[in-house]
Structure formats: C-alpha cells, structure tokens
Symmetry: C2
Subunit: 409 residues, 2 copies
C-alpha cells in the first residue's frame, strides 16, 4: 500500500461535471489500495473573480484581506470534491490550510511555507478517509489566512507530499505532461517522458506554466517523486527526476523552449556611478516583496551608468513607484519602462556538455532580424529578452533549430 498525493488544477475543477471526473480519478487511485491525499485549486476563473472584487475595493495583492477573499475559492472546491467522493460512497474529509496547519510567513499574496503538521492528515487517513486539502492557502503566526502565489496549489501538494512522506505526488492538469514548448505556439511541440529537476526549475521560472517553480524546488529539496499527468486523458505523463538517476543517458543539448510574456522592463538612466547604488536599489525593491529577474548594468560613461532590470508585469506599477522615488534620491536622469517584451529561453541539462548553444540561439534570432535587448544565462539555460511581437516566431525557429520537433517521433 502506497501513500499518494494528487493535485488537481483549476481547469480540472472547472465545473460540477469536471469535479465528478476528478472524483473518478481519485477513486481509481484509492481502489488500487493506496491511501490518497488530494490537493485542489479553485474552480477555473474563481480566483480571478475574487481578486477582481478585492481590487475593486482597493485591495492589493499583498493585503491580508485579499488573501482572505481569494482563498475562499479553494475552500469551496475542497468542499465540492469531498461531496463528490461521498456521493460515490467513499469517506472523505475537506481540510483547510489552518486545519492542516500549513504554517507560513506573513508575505500575503506570496507566502512561504515554514512547516506542515502531518498529524491531522495521518489521523484522517488512519480512519480510512480520503483527505481533500484546499490548496494555495496557509496560515500565519497570527492565525490569518495567507496565499502562496499563483500556482500555489502545486506547492501545497508537494509540501504536503514531503511532510507526509508520500510515495508519489501526481500533479494533474489539462495537458498530459511537460512539453518541449507551448503547443499553442509551436505545433511540433511534444511531451517529454522525463524532465530533470534543474530543467523544470528553469522552465517554471521561464514561463512554462505547468508547475509553480517553488513546488519544483520543494520537490527537489525533499526528493518528492513528482509526476505531471492529465486529468482528462490516460497516459504516463512526465516524470520530474534527479539528473543523477540517469547518468548514462545521452543528453540532449536543449530539451525545451520557453516563452514568458509576463515580464516588464525598467531602466534607470544616468545614475551617478557610486559603490553600493545597485545594492540600495534592489534591496528597496526586494523589501516590497518584488522579485527582480534579469539585471543589466551598463559600463559607466562619464561617471554615470544605466541600470535595466525586469519584474513581473503585476509588480510593474509598484516597482516604478519605488524606482521613481529612488531616482530622485540618487539624482538619476530618468526612469523608463517597457511592458511589451518577451523572454525567450532554451533549456537543457545537456547544454553543460555542448558548446555553442548560445551562438546557435543568437544566430537564429539574428537571421530573423530579432533584436536581443537583454541576455541571461545559467549552466542549463539561455534567455533573451526580445520585442513581444516576435515571441511566437522566436519560439518556433528555436524549437526547430535545436531539433526538438524530431524527438520521440
């Protein structure tokens, strides 16, 4: 008998009918003799509807009230799935973040889990129940509801799997696994049987929306046996695993192409070039709970320098307020921003052993006259910021250039 965590996203939970299908998936797993813990997202569209209500009332993503409001979506769907399971004759129990004691910090809107009390889950499992946990939510030390950021239910699932030492964590979604690229953009894209944790982390941070990046980091840290599967179709899905398990496999240079249009670019121009200025700027932005992605600092000219960085579009307004204030303080010339950008990336653990990935990428983009505004590299990925209008074209030509369309048939 194994202990399985299943997670179902918003599309899977999108209607009464679909939740009944989800119940079917859960029961199928239960019928193999396994103990099952389910983590659910809100019904699709619900989080946006609730967020919209909060925003209309002046709420921001980091208000505790906003978390209180938007967390109700998962509360509802956990109740509905538990009902669906009971209707089929299975004993189930819905649990909220505070009942599982998913303890987090107080960063409303993007809280981080500090601990999970597995006792209550074990107790329910011992009583033969299917445990249905409301994803996305936790509770801070003052007893207020927090949420884990978009896609946070993935993190709930993986964190719960780690806490209860589950044998497997299956993330069910509306696609049947992880793809070489977004099939909506690249028709030749196809499913990968295996993706390595390092790759998955890069892919998640680069706009592949299959898994929330923190969930992958969590799974990697705690060695959670992670799968991505389809709610609506049979199939073995994609396994996310450690590279170490596959040492002898012939590695592909690039395994996927990702495209992220959710970032915006801010430039502070004409900053007097003194030590500690970058530190000052980015600590101020980080204090506001804004994550900076790429950073470029130009070479100093006549004692002045330019600093360019990217943030999530949703953080752009706040980042501009902070940057605007800082520009005055620092006596910089001006602050400009651009939200019509895309970050196009190629990812693959094989890059470590292949030379020239970057030059192929730059070459391919140049041939189509696509200008590269920013570049960022790691051991296993290269990202370029380009004009948003070329995003899809760039994804297709890179997918082709690295022969991804020819894999697995």
């Amino acid at each position: 008998m194994a202990l399985i965590v299943q997670k179902f996203g918003g599309t899977s939970m999108g209607s009464i009918e679909r939740i009944k299908q989800v119940a079917g998936r859960v029961i199928k797993e239960k019928l193999t003799g396994n103990d099952v813990v389910v983590v659910v997202s809100a019904m699709s569209g619900e989080t946006n509807r609730l967020l919209d209500l909060a925003v209309k009332m002046g709420g921001r993503q980091d208000n505790m009230e906003t978390d209180l409001i938007i967390s109700s979506g998962e509360q509802i769907s956990s109740g509905l799935l538990s009902l669906a399971l009971k209707n089929e004759g299975y004993d189930a129990v819905p649990l909220l973040g505070h009942q599982v004691r998913i303890a987090t910090d107080e960063s409303y809107g993007k809280a981080r889990i500090s601990s999970i009390d597995s006792e209550n889950i074990y107790k329910m499992l011992k009583n033969g129940k299917i445990v249905v946990i409301a994803g996305f939510q936790g509770i801070d030390s003052n007893g207020f509801i927090t949420t884990l950021g978009r896609g946070g239910s993935d993190t709930t699932a993986v964190a719960v799997a780690a806490a209860i030492n589950a044998d497997r964590c299956d993330i069910y979604t509306d696609v049947d696994g992880v793809y070489t690229a977004d099939p909506n953009i690249v028709p030749e894209a196809h499913r990968l049987d295996v993706v390595y944790f390092d790759e998955m982390i890069e892919m998640s941070s680069l706009g592949a929306k299959v898994l929330q990046i923190r969930s992958v980091e969590f799974a990697m840290k705690y060695g959670v046996n992670l799968f991505v599967k389809s709610t609506f179709a049979e199939g073995k899905g994609t396994q996310i695993k450690f590279l170490g398990d596959d040492k002898n496999m012939e590695e592909l240079q690039v395994s996927s192409v990702a495209c992220d249009k959710d970032e915006a670019k801010i430039s502070i121009r004409g900053i007097p070039d003194k030590p500690g200025i970058a530190a000052k700027i980015f600590s101020r932005i980080s204090d506001a709970n804004i994550v900076v992605d790429m950073i470029i600092q130009n070479i100093s000219v006549e004692g002045h320098t330019d600093l360019t960085f990217t943030v999530s579009k949703k953080d752009l307004k706040k980042a501009l307020e902070i940057t605007g204030g800082l520009a005055k303080e620092l006596d910089a010339k001006e602050v400009i921003s651009d939200d019509k950008i895309a970050k196009i990336s190629v990812i693959g653990v094989g890059m470590r052993n292949h030379y020239g990935t970057a030059s192929i990428m730059f070459d391919v983009l140049a041939k189509e006259n696509i200008n590269i505004m920013m570049i960022s590299t790691s051991e296993i990925k290269i990202s370029c910021v380009i004009d948003a209008k070329y995003a899809e074209l760039a994804a297709r030509i890179l997918h082709d250039a690295f022969n991804l369309g020819k894999l697995n048939g």
Copy 2:
C-alpha cells in the same frame, strides 16, 4: 466611550458601492468616539449561489461540506468591508468564526453557539482597530466550520454583543425598523418605535424576517440592548426591549400581523392509537434536526387517530421520508402532505389583558370564507394555518380589524 456592535445584512453588503456605504455607517459610529465591532452577512445572493453549487454536487443542508462551502460568502464580505475601512484611513481587521472562536455544536446548517472567546476581539479593539467579523459561521470541537442557519449573522451579532458586553447592538437592514405587517402585503403597515422581546420572538418565529429568532432569544437571555435600523436611511429604528421597562404603557391588544409561507403540512392518517406513538414520531423527526412547528392530533376513532404537523418547506422531503418509514412501522393508513399553506398570526403582549382576540380573528377570517386548517395559540399570539392563496388577503383584513393602520399616524 461606548462599545457598539453593528450588523449588516446581505442587501446592505450587496455590491462594492453598498459596502462602501456600510463603511460610511461604521466610520460615523467610530467618529463618535465609540469602539465598533461589525458583523457582516454574505453579499446578497451569494449564499444561495454557493448553496446551489453544494446541492448540485449532492450536498444537503446538514453536510459539513455544505457549511464549508456556504460560509465562504461571509469570509469574502468581511475582507471587503475591512478593505473599504482601510481605504478610508481606518485600521480594521477581518476575523473569521474560528479566529473569534465562536464555538458551536456539530449541527451543520443550524449549529448553536456554545461559547465565544472575547479575548481576541478585545485585543484588536485595544489596538484601535475596527473589528469586522464574518457572521453566520462558527467552528465545532473538531475544527470544522459550521453555520448558524438562515439569518445566522443576526445571532452572531447578538452573541458577540453579549460576549463582549457591548452597550448596544444595532442590526442594520434594508428596512428602517420592525413593522406592524409586511408593507409589501399590507400597504398601511408602519414602523413600530418599540417592540417587546416576547413579541419579537413570536414575530420572528411567525415569518417576520427582520431578525432570526435565535438572535432575539439570545438578546433577551443576555439583556442585549437591541435596535433594528436602516443602512440606507437615517432614523431611530425600532428598539427591542423588555416589557418590564414599560409597565405603565397602555398596551395594544395586537401590535402586528405576520404571515409565513415557508411551512408545509404533513398528516399521518389512520395510526393505531397506542401510548407513546406521538413521542416516537417526533423524536425520530427531531433526531434528524427537523423542527416541528404546529401539531394537531385528532380524537381517536375506532382505535385509530390522525396526526398533523407542520415543518419548514426545506425540511419537507426529509420529514416525508422519515414519516413514510414510520407509517409502515406503525401500520398507519397513509401519509399526505400539503405545501400550499400559509400561517397567519396576530401578535401582541396586550393580548394578555384583552379578551376575545381569538374570536375577532376567527370572525374576520370566516367573513371572507377563509377556512382555518390548524390553530395554535400562546399568551401573546394566535396563529392560523390557511390556504396559501388567501395569505395576503388575511394579513390585510386582520391588520385592519385590529386597527394597526391607525397607529402612529
């Protein structure tokens, strides 16, 4: 400085704009120097929408999942009002049932409050905050969310007022007080300055939807200084008080007429007349958490008797299931039901000192050829079950017969 509890219903919380108006009401009270605790209902229509979701998934009113789902409505509105107050520069904090520790029993769908921990509320008030409590919800001893039944936010407000020893509990609603009858049915109906607790309890149990009956009982038990006021109009509202405070007032024979179309009638016919049969039937129904209102047992004929009683329409199906099973067990002839009935009532503490209230009532109904199916009386009310189609007519002619249209001008 006084401590005030304000409660706002679903219509008052019906939209972003209305919640802003509610915030205005709250701030007005706060500006007089008082500490304010607010209890809110869900936005109008929300509880029904959520209940509908649960029912579509096979949920019943007494499922714990149903409570989990429908309680989210108040969670959302408490967050929205807290945001609205903060936007106006006032410090506020939204608290859920489990944070206030509104402890209840496990009767999902109509849980009863056993205790409230006032400590958290006092702490927040001491920090200068306006406390916004999600009404309608509590928590059972296992940490699961319960709800208090329709209108339960009234009970939350009064129970909180009692727990924190508030100086006043103002129930804000879409009407400006308690009326002599429903103005939609009886155009001559008008607001009463004062209603006595005993009358209010009868009125609430008889279909006047101004206050949930349990809230009035609670207020009476704990001596809560209770007012019903309008969210949208200025005015002194109606005070609910103890009769003892007004001993010398000339009492009116009847102070109001109520009409309840939410009940249905069940008859078990041809029951072998043995001792203990009524007890058996009603204990079985009570075990299912169904409240029986009126009961009539006919005189035994040839060792057989008929038993007729009324229940809420929403409990009819379940009550019929139970009654059907019992009828077989008891070898009764048949079970019949009728949901096209209305209960028309006249109420007034003055009835105690006036003779002939019942005869006036029966006489007035008879003159219009309205047949009386069941009668129930107390010291301060008389109720008659009649055909539903005569409900409005009966209300008007009784209002007129007891001169209620001529009060207060």
